[in-house]
């Protein structure tokens, strides 16, 4: 289909938009519309759509504006809350990940050194209490305790840093 380029199209479009058609238009334009297929299509379609559009103005909207306005406020508040909670969630996730990693490293190191879980537990249970000094009396135990506590502090500090960084962003 070829795009016809009628010279009157712009003038006619403006006249239709302003509501000047047909009374406010000259005889020449009216005669042209009768002869030109493109322009008569334009008049027919625009007038039909404009009528339907003006009839639609009568119909009342289904929802009250105050309800929509209230819902928009609610949605904004929820979004704001989500934004505030996001850094905490990220920090929590990070802390959990680091803790899990430390746990895995600990289990792996124990597994390497022979996995003496049962003997360690059997020593601990009869005393019914946890004696730090007895654990620390062995040099290997001290190293492990230091490693775990160091990693724990690192995880905590990392979580705080991540929280502060994400909150700032």
């Amino acid at each position: 289909m070829m795009l016809s380029n009628c010279t009157y199209e712009k003038e006619l479009t403006q006249a239709l938009k302003d509501g000047h058609w047909p009374q406010g238009c000259g005889q020449e334009l009216r005669a042209h519309v009768n002869a030109c297929g493109t322009c008569s299509d334009l008049v027919l379609v625009t007038q039909t759509f404009q009528r339907v559009r003006s009839e639609s103005d009568i119909a009342a909207p289904a929802v009250s504006p105050s309800l929509l306005w209230w819902r928009a406020q609610l949605r904004r508040r929820n979004a704001a809350e989500q934004r505030v909670a996001q850094p905490i969630t990220i920090a929590q996730t990070f802390a959990w990940s680091v803790t899990a990693l430390v746990g895995i490293i600990f289990v792996a190191s124990q597994y390497r050194s022979g996995l003496h879980w049962a003997s360690w537990w059997s020593e601990l249970v009869p005393s019914r209490t946890f004696h730090l000094l007895s654990v620390g009396s062995e040099p290997v135990g001290w190293n492990l305790a230091l490693l775990i506590s160091g990693l724990g502090v690192l995880a905590l500090l990392s979580a705080v840093v991540v929280y502060l960084a994400s909150e700032k962003s």
Binding site: L44, T48, R53
Partner: protein
Amino acid sequence: MRKPDTTGEYAIPNVETRGASRTDQLPMDSDAFSGFYQRSAPALRAYLTRVSGNHALADDLLQESYLRFLCATCPEGGEVNYRRYLYRIATNLLRDHWRRPRAACLDDVPEQFLAARDGLKRIESQVTLDPALLQMRPRERQLLWLAHAEGYSHREIAEITGLNAAGIRLLLFRARRKIARLLRKQLDADRGQA
């Protein structure tokens, strides 16, 4: 129309958090929005109904359009720009709806298109236009409505629909020719019956 104060009859306490920026505030207050809604909603609803061919969907999308409009940072420039922005949101929502994997798609023609609701008698011009629109594709309905009902220019339609401004002229020309033929046919049939 843009006012920073969001407190009013329907204000929710603690909506504005400490240190909230201007962009965190609603673009207008309740009264201003009410007036804007009363002026713009019927036309937007007619657009959504004519393009989607579904009254229930049109009502849903109408509400969602206004909610997104209120939650977004609206463009400056008064009501004309607000309206255009609203049509853009509504058009995007329609497109999202068509893109969703479901039974209907962009080229589907809905059954019971524009059926009269609540036993109300439809107005004569709607009776003429609706069967013709039934035979048009949603994209064509969209372009025709924006151009001929709302009076938007090709550039404005391009902004609203996201289409290429150069292609709109041709698309619109084809759609207009097609619907004009259908309208003439419909009018001839009506005259024949009379």
